[in-house]
């Protein structure tokens, strides 16, 4: 167990999603109990149909709960999110391999 430590985050998006929730809490956008309640509800909803294994599915629930909480708090509207997601997808498809992927109209 200690000889070969497991990676803390298995995928970069796990780490990004984790950090977003922690940062939004630290900035006072929601309380941590509020977060655990939203996240717990999402895990319970998913667990009712399929046992969650604590890996990718755990962070899928994390992302869904974060989207819901941000929407409910008026921080991120669902429509804006789906527009930006499509924009990111287009940016990846339009960027030559090996180049940094940026959204059109944004510097960074």
């Amino acid at each position: 167990m200690t000889a070969a430590p497991e990676p803390v985050f298995e995928a970069p998006w796990h780490a990004q999603a984790f950090a977003l929730a922690v940062h939004l809490n630290e900035r006072g956008h929601f309380g941590w109990p509020e977060w655990t309640e939203a996240f717990g509800a999402e895990l319970a909803r998913r667990g009712a149909t399929r046992a969650q294994d604590g890996g990718d599915d755990y962070f899928l629930a994390w992302v869904a709960a974060l989207e819901t909480l941000c929407r409910d708090k008026g921080l991120a509207e669902a429509e804006a999110l789906s527009r930006l997601k499509a924009a990111w997808e287009a940016a990846y498809l339009a960027t030559p391999h090996g180049h940094p992927v940026r959204l059109a109209g944004q510097g960074g």
Partner: protein, 204 residues
């Protein structure tokens, strides 16, 4: 990546949830609600700086220093802060001590609350439905699967973490370690022993 073995004229499209996270991040950033530098710092902290070694230092100190142990049992939040380990979510830390009579183990039945400052990010099994449900229902079977077989008359106490309270198990100090300093002792303290799904290592 295993699926990245054919030619990609464009950048590899990340998985769907990664795009959702990017969308959320870019929206919040455009609104000035987040600082991307702070996100990187949080990831760096939890990926590289915070881990079970912190908790092991606390346990080793408690084994070696009766006054620290007393402060830890009285108010773990304050005692851990003495060593520089403090929670970021305003949670309260509670230390629970294993004895010959009582074995403690920790779960979060709601989600995955965990003493991050002391143990880092929880392992996958701690976050699984199987552990979260079974730790409460059949703790002895779960312990057996972790290779922990307790005497029949040892009581098992399962602690359910919350957003406000996180538990640290203080495992029993192994025999044959009399006179050891804290660093040497800390090497015996495993992550699982501080969750209660393991015991401290026995010196070879």
């Amino acid at each position: 990546m295993p699926h990245d073995d054919h030619d990609h004229p464009h950048s590899l499209l990340p998985p769907d949830p990664a795009l959702r996270v990017k969308a959320l991040e870019s929206l919040l950033e455009a609104k000035g609600l987040i600082d991307p530098g702070a996100l990187d710092a949080i990831i760096d902290t939890y990926a590289h700086k915070v881990g079970p070694r912190n908790g092991a230092q606390v346990v080793a100190r408690a084994w070696n220093d009766p006054e620290f142990r007393a402060r830890l049992m009285e108010d773990a939040t304050a005692a851990c802060a003495e060593l520089g380990f403090a929670g970021r979510q305003g949670e309260h830390l509670v230390a629970v001590e294993n004895t010959a009579e009582t074995h403690n183990m920790v779960v979060c039945t709601l989600c995955s609350c965990y003493p991050w400052p002391l143990l880092g990010i929880p392992p996958g099994w701690y976050k699984s439905d199987a552990y979260r449900a079974r730790a409460v229902r059949e703790p002895r079977q779960v312990l057996a699967e972790f290779g922990v077989h307790l005497p029949e008359d040892t009581r098992v106490h399962v602690w359910d973490s919350t957003a406000e309270i996180r538990y640290l198990v203080i495992p029993e100090r192994p025999g044959g370690t009399e006179g050891w300093d804290a660093d040497r002792l800390a090497a015996l303290v495993t992550r699982d022993s501080m969750i209660g799904t393991g015991l401290a290592r026995v010196p070879a």
